[in-house]
Amino acid sequence: MFDIVFWILAAVTVGAALAVVILRDVFRAALSLVLLFLTIAVIYITLYADFLAVAQILIYVGAISILIIVAIMLTREVWHGSPSGKLRIPALVVSLLLLGILVFTVVSTKWEMSGESPQQPTTAAIGSSLFGEGGFILPVEITAVLLLAAVLGAIVLIREK
């Protein structure tokens, strides 16, 4: 049962990613990107990452996809489509080469699996290791500064002169 779910998810995810790259209509590519984000959230659920699945839906499906669609509408380039550049064949060769290397490495490595069952509700554990004693509190603070800098940078870049 779990295997069938995984194979369906993998097929839909790869199909949506291929549609983003292949479709000539930029807006349809953005919509299939939203489908990709949703299936990745379900993949997180199959990996017992419930908090991450909700965060994926909130941030990617909710925010980033809207940002991308607004960008498509603000830059009236929809009728130009998404053409490929002169480097299409070299790019295909490079990405297939990288795929071959990655798959070979993954298959030939002997991974040290742990037989333990995963933590089931992860939200409390993630919260305590993000904000708790000896956790990741410094990266969280730095992330806040990064987000502030990104927001200020976006406002400064987009302001009318």
Binding site: A10, V26, Y44, A49, I68, S84
Partner: protein, 103 residues
């Protein structure tokens, strides 16, 4: 053969390669930004799969994935701001015409 760590890693590798092809081959800057998001999501799948199968008692992979999501959100905001700023001056989002830093 039941689904395990290798399956998730191969799925992640396939998504990363598709994203890399899009980044290298496409000419529309917004589509390139979308392909970068595909690559970041592929990396997140690999991180969460490692967290699930290799160290299930610690959530370090998932926490790292949260930071990747935050940085991706910041990157998308700044990237789209840059694209719109260039579009204002060039009337185009074709990366072949972005030669402002060429000397």
């Amino acid at each position: 053969m039941s689904v395990g760590l290798e399956h998730y890693l191969v799925l992640s590798a396939v998504l990363f390669s598709i994203g890399l092809y899009g980044v290298l081959a496409k000419r529309n800057a917004v589509v390139i930004l979308m392909c970068i998001e595909i690559m970041l999501n592929a990396v997140n799948i690999a991180l969460v799969a490692f967290s699930r199968y290799v160290v299930p008692m610690f959530l370090t992979g998932q926490i790292f994935a949260i930071f990747v999501i935050v940085v991706a959100a910041a990157e998308a905001a700044v990237g789209i701001a840059i694209i719109i700023a260039i579009y204002r001056s060039r009337e185009s989002v074709d990366v072949d015409k972005f030669d402002l830093m060429k000397w």
